[in-house]
């Protein structure tokens, strides 16, 4: 069924937003998958990112760029509540996903993570067979008889099927790093998420494997919305539709280093006609 969805190219129908409680503004449009409103994330007493507001569009690739330590990963993990797993994290502000604030008290974070998948910086396949890695998520949702089909179509979507179809029962750890990363993408796709968050998915890969993953993302954005963190300017320029530039603001008195959104715009504008001098310095490599 995933395949047919990819073939017809129709966007995933937005799950009907649960009746918004009275007083809450109605979702502004069907094209936004995420609306961040004043998002602030603290680790203990330390504010990692402050007051981020931006809209992420459906079926687009949105890149987050910025210097190391500015809070890109933190921001990304806020989008599927992975930060809940870090002791002492506090998130304020709103992350409105399909019209619902995922930080609202009645929301189940497990359900959020099922809809909003994530691929990590380092490939992290489970020490199980290739098949079991991909089947892990669908099994949680109770799929039994159609597992073979799901595994095959997910591996095909991740452009890995031809390389592994003869050895599905082998350990995932026998794969190369690039194959492992594509396996992790297949694993994320197998639960049919709505959004895929990628945290520097190609940082451990060689240029060829990187290009394969980029091609793959081009394919995937027809059916999914993708948010990617990257250190690689060319990569952001090549693949993304929109780019967010985040940087660190150092508070002079307290020496607190907080991530702030500088600019968020079409990728072409960010890279050719940035409105903010700091953005231009960063994308042209003049960043201090």
């Amino acid at each position: 069924m995933q395949q047919s969805r990819a073939e017809t190219g129709t966007p995933i129908p937005a799950p009907a937003p649960a009746a918004a409680p009275a007083g809450e503004p109605a979702p502004t449009g069907a094209t936004e998958i995420f609306q961040l409103r004043g998002l602030t994330c603290r680790y203990g007493g330390f504010t990692a990112v402050r007051d981020i507001s931006l809209d992420i569009q459906r079926n687009e690739i949105t890149a987050i760029i910025g210097p190391s330590g500015c809070g890109k990963s933190t921001l990304l993990r806020c989008l599927n509540r992975m930060n809940d797993l870090v002791e002492g994290t506090r998130v304020t502000g709103e992350v409105i996903y399909n019209g619902e604030d995922i930080y609202a008290p009645h929301i189940d974070p497990v359900e959020v993570r099922r809809r909003i998948g994530m691929v990590f910086q380092e490939p992290n396949p489970f020490p199980k067979s290739i098949y079991d890695n991909v089947a892990f998520g669908p099994k949680l949702e109770g799929h039994r008889s159609d597992l073979d089909d799901i595994v095959e179509s997910s591996l095909r979507q991740a452009a890995l099927w031809d390389e592994v179809k003869g050895k599905l029962k082998q350990s995932a750890l026998s794969l190369s790093g690039g194959q492992q990363q594509r396996l992790c993408i297949a694993r994320a796709l197998a639960v049919e998420p709505d959004v895929i968050l990628m945290d520097e998915p190609a940082s451990a890969l060689d240029p060829i494997a990187t290009l394969r993953i980029e091609d793959l993302m081009e394919e995937l954005k027809r059916s999914y919305s993708i948010v990617i963190v990257t250190h690689n300017m060319q990569q952001a320029a090549r693949i993304s539709d929109k780019t967010a530039f985040v940087t660190v603001r150092v508070e002079n008195e307290t020496d607190e280093r907080t991530g702030e959104l500088v600019e968020f715009d079409d990728t072409t504008r960010i890279f050719t006609a940035a409105a903010d001098q700091r953005t231009e310095d960063y994308v042209t490599g003049r960043f201090g």
């Binding site: 797993l85 750890l173 694993r187 994320a188």
Partner: protein, 328 residues
């Protein structure tokens, strides 16, 4: 090429980096003997050798001392016999040397101990590694290890004076004998809980955080992440912990000597007496059996069987750890 690049007048004709300096680069020093280092090396070698020689010596004593026993006793009768009474005059009706009752005693007590220790130890390990706040873990783990330090003679009397009366009041004095395998096994289980818990906790802790995150990112609950990802990934370490604990239980002597009785039987009734191998050895060594008597010789034969069993358990543990080690 005999000269090193960078040595004065480098053979490659490349002038040394600081050519023109008065003496050129400083030459490499000559090889020097360092007597202190040699001595340490020998000392370490000696220590390693002593421990190996000791082990070989123990095995040799067991084997050589049991040879005279098998001059008097048929090996097949020893291995397959179901009655053990070497105290009688050899050749008489009562004299019997089947080791199986003792082996059964050992296996029953060990099985009971594992039945207690594996669930308790694993649950403790999962709690400590996955659920406990770090403060609790830091407090509980050493406390758990104190339990491993309780002298076994104390545990033996705990079995006899607390566990046995408890079982008798729960199940009836007619079911539970005063000396029985169950209370010895249960208390021995408590004794090995720290081994299972501590080593399993180490194994769980060694599972990379990235695997847990991978599971959560697929919509797994904490329970699912632990059961389907973390525990399987740590399985080889957990199995090794259990087998190590089993080896400890096989060899444990004091608790069974005090609480399990001294009647070797073939019964599978865990509330009846059932003397294990270690119990027999302790009892017989403490009694007076003249050197050279069959009973005295039988000690070494039983010791050899016990050694073989613990050796097997440890070998299996090694093999399991190697075979199923997950490289994350």
């Amino acid at each position: 090429m005999s000269s090193y690049p960078g040595s004065p007048g480098g053979a490659r004709g490349v002038p040394p980096a600081d050519a023109g300096g008065p003496g050129g680069p400083r030459p490499l020093g000559r090889a020097r003997t360092r007597p202190g280092e040699q001595a340490v090396l020998w000392l370490l070698w000696l220590c390693a050798t002593i421990s190996i020689v000791t082990t070989i010596g123990i095995v040799a004593v067991l084997v050589f001392e049991s040879i005279p026993f098998f001059a008097n006793v048929d090996v097949a009768a020893f291995v397959t016999g179901t009655e053990w009474y070497p105290f009688a005059e050899p050749g008489t009706e009562a004299f019997s040397t089947g080791v199986l009752p003792l082996v059964k005693g050992t296996l029953v007590v060990t099985a009971i101990a594992l039945a207690v220790a594996v669930p308790l130890g694993l649950a403790a390990a999962v709690y400590l590694s996955e659920y406990a706040p770090s403060k609790v873990r830091q407090a509980v783990k050493p406390a758990l290890e104190v339990l491993a330090g309780v002298p076994t003679v104390v545990l033996g009397y705990f079995a006899l004076t607390f566990m046995t009366p408890l079982l008798r009041s729960l199940l009836g004095a007619e079911t539970v004998q005063i000396f029985n395998a169950a209370s010895a096994g249960i208390v021995m289980g408590f004794m090995i809980v720290p081994i299972v818990a501590s080593l399993s906790e180490d194994a769980l802790n060694a599972v990379p955080q990235a695997l847990r995150q991978g599971a959560y990112a697929l919509g797994a609950t904490k329970r699912v992440a632990i059961l389907r990802v973390v525990v399987p990934a740590a399985l080889s370490g957990i199995v090794a912990a259990v087998i190590l604990a089993m080896g400890r239980a096989l060899g444990e002597t004091m608790i069974v000597t005090i609480a399990a009785g001294n009647l070797p039987t073939m019964t599978l009734d865990i509330f009846a007496q059932g003397q294990p191998m270690t119990g027999f050895i302790a009892q017989t060594v403490a009694g007076e059996s003249p050197r050279g008597s069959v009973v005295y010789q039988s000690l070494f034969a039983v010791g050899a069987v016990l050694f073989a069993m613990t050796f097997l358990a440890n070998s299996v543990a090694q093999w399991v750890v190697r075979r199923f080690r997950q490289v994350y």
